[in-house]
């Protein structure tokens, strides 16, 4: 199975921590973290899978610790996947899901129907309140071509039975309209509220 390059994993996690660290600041401060000149990505596809209880929906693959040459420090049970990119058919083949994971067929279809020569899939898995659903707010690309994916959380339908403090797991599969070879890293926003798309992207050009 071809896992995401370690460099990209590092860049992605750095991107996440940067955005998370900025989550408490006001909009202008957050916006200023994104370089000018980016474009809005609209031609993407996203689907989600969700599981209840302790186990996340993606059973395999798990986090690549990236320290195969130092076996003594390798954890016997790698952590569940959190951020990942799929760049090829072989990379797509190793996914396994928990028994109670929802919407698995749709997720498998998105992964298998992706044309990896011109597209790639970004995977993001996280915990989420039982009464919330994850929403992909918007995607932009910076001038270097690196995607910035902004997720947010939305309160689920009022008729959905859930408890305020209970937690689920959710995984998002985002098909991007460009191959993994076109970007060296990405950033990922996972804050709470669904802020409007920044003005500079709404009035600017859109990518294919």
């Amino acid at each position: 199975m071809a896992l995401m390059p370690s460099r990209r994993a590092l860049l992605a996690s750095v991107g996440t921590s940067v955005v998370t660290a900025l989550a408490g600041c006001n909009a202008s401060e957050t916006d200023s973290a994104t370089p000018d000149g980016g474009t809005l990505v609209t031609d993407y596809t996203v689907t989600m899978t969700r599981s209840t209880g302790e186990h996340p929906p993606i059973v395999a693959p798990r986090e690549d610790t990236g320290d195969a040459g130092n076996a003594e420090e390798t954890s016997s049970t790698p952590e569940p996947l959190s951020i990942h990119t799929i760049e090829s058919e072989s990379g797509a083949s190793g996914f396994e899901f928990a028994d109670d994971a929802t919407n698995v067929a749709t997720v498998r279809r998105l992964v298998s129907e992706t044309a990896y020569a011109s597209e790639s899939v970004l995977v993001y898995q996280t915990r989420i309140g039982e009464c919330y659903r994850l929403k992909l707010n918007y995607i932009t690309r910076d001038p270097d071509g690196d995607p910035d994916v902004d997720f947010c959380q939305v309160i689920r339908d009022a008729h959905t039975a859930c408890e305020r403090r209970a937690r689920d797991h959710v995984a998002a599969f985002v098909r991007l309209p460009f191959p993994g070879s076109e970007y060296g890293g990405f950033s990922l926003g996972s804050g709470g509220s669904c802020d409007p798309i920044p003005e500079r992207y709404r009035n600017g050009s859109e990518s294919a």
């Binding site: 309140g129 039982e130 009464c131 919330y132 929403k135 939305v154 309160i155 689920r156 339908d157 009022a158 008729h159 959905t160 039975a161 859930c162 408890e163 305020r164 403090r165 209970a166 509220s193 669904c194 409007p196």
Partner: protein, 431 residues
């Protein structure tokens, strides 16, 4: 550049400036104060009695009016507890319950005639909270949609605008001052009602039930202001034996006052404020004092011009009064700073003395005639003292020698400057 274009530009710049003042000033490490250790126990004893500023209107809302506002909250919340508990989504259930509890808590206010107008104003938001619950449950049952709310918004917004169209400033033949203050309150409420029922607001929820609830909440908030304005005006007019129309007089007074404050609609320049002194006043109470007074002058001038341009002359007059008082206070403060005042104090004593002087000046101001005009300005002297006292009680003061000292000084200087402005406006109104 046209007047409006220039003003828009200045307003935008000014907003940024205010943000700087409000959000970051207390984060400044204030190097000037680093060497001064203030006696915390002495600081803690500073807050003490503060005079209340009575309502600045001659005719209070009726008891029945206040009762109706209470009833509005109660009726919107009637039988909602059981319905809320039946909502399966725990977050939605919690939001609805929280809004309901907050609205009910507001019903415990006193029904004292002297504070009835404040009690009524205090029930505008609780009415909106109660509507949040009522509308949310209706949406949950499928009986209310965002489209229904849009129609409701249009109706209430039209009603709110219609109220201020061709507004007539009627009052007693011998009481232009009372008429001014009564109408300033009424028109102020009416203006708020229009603003809150506008459509260009951003909302928080995507959840259907909560979104309908928040839409309805905003409209109810605006409706409450507009309804209160209309009902208070009806009551006020009903008390007049021989009504007289003060429209032309208020227009003339507004012309005069707004012309005087028009130079101050520009956002204050902090560097310019701190310049012209023989000593460096950066990071001292003096700088903070001058900034606060300049900001008060700017805020009053900006609001006065906006209301004047919109034909709301009673509001323009009272806002211009604030700007003129702040301008006079600023001039006096600059003179005091030039004489060496408001540097970083070495102990709590000068801060305490400033508070004592501010409270005494506020008491003197409140004993000045005409009381109704005085009260419109007295709040700008009282609020800085109240805010500083609150910060001491909540232990959130990071720079006593600058912030507290300046807040008490703002109150002191404003209270000292107000009587002359009140006299000027009174003379203009009665002549």
């Amino acid at each position: 550049m046209s007047r409006h274009t220039r003003r828009s530009l200045l307003a935008a710049t000014g907003t940024a400036f205010m943000g700087t003042l409000a959000g970051c000033s207390e984060l400044n490490p204030l190097s000037s104060e680093k060497t001064v250790e203030y006696d915390e126990s002495a600081l803690a004893t500073l807050p003490s009695d503060l005079p209340r500023v009575p309502a600045a209107i001659p005719v209070q809302p009726t008891s029945a009016h206040l009762t109706a506002a209470h009833e509005r909250v109660r009726s919107l919340l009637d039988d909602t507890d059981t319905a809320i508990s039946a909502v399966p989504n725990g977050v939605v259930r919690h939001r609805l319950a929280s809004e309901g509890e907050s609205a009910r808590a507001a019903l415990a206010q006193n029904d004292d005639e002297s504070t009835r107008v404040d009690a009524l104003a205090g029930l505008t938001y609780p009415r909106s909270e109660a509507m949040f619950v009522h509308a949310g449950l209706a949406a949950f049952d499928g009986d209310l949609t965002a489209a229904d709310i849009a129609a409701r918004r249009d109706r209430h917004h039209r009603d709110a605008e219609a109220f201020l169209d061709d507004y007539r400033y009627v009052g007693p033949s011998d009481g232009p001052v009372g008429a001014l203050t009564e109408h300033a309150r009424i028109v102020g409420w009416g203006r708020t009602g229009i603003r809150l029922t506008e459509t260009n607001r951003r909302y928080e929820y995507e959840n259907t039930v909560l979104h309908v609830a928040e839409l309805a909440q905003d409209i109810e908030w605006g409706r409450a202001y507009a309804v209160d304005a209309r009902r208070l005006r009806e009551h006020y007019v009903s008390t007049l034996d021989d009504p007289r129309d003060y429209g032309n007089r208020f227009s003339r007074v507004a012309d005069d006052l707004v012309a005087d404050i028009d130079p101050y609609v520009d956002a204050p320049d902090r560097e310019a404020l701190a310049s012209g002194f023989e000593r460096d006043i950066e990071n001292t109470a003096a700088a903070k004092l001058l900034e606060e007074l300049a900001r008060s002058r700017w805020s009053g001038a900006k609001m006065a011009v906006e209301d004047y341009d919109a034909g709301r002359n009673a509001l323009a007059i009272v806002s211009a009064m604030r700007a003129l008082a702040a301008d006079r206070a600023l001039a006096d403060a600059r003179e005091a700073v030039s004489d060496g005042a408001y540097s970083v104090p070495e102990s709590v004593d000068p801060i305490e003395a400033e508070r004592t002087a501010a409270v005494e000046r506020l008491r003197t101001l409140l004993d000045t005639a005409p009381a109704l005009l005085v009260r419109r300005l007295a709040v700008y002297a009282r609020n800085p003292i109240r805010n500083a006292d609150r910060d001491i009680r909540e232990d959130t003061v990071s720079s006593p020698g600058r912030y507290l000292y300046a807040q008490y000084a703002v109150a002191n200087r404003f209270a000292a400057a107000a009587p002359a402005i009140v006299r000027r406006v009174e003379d203009a109104l009665v002549s």
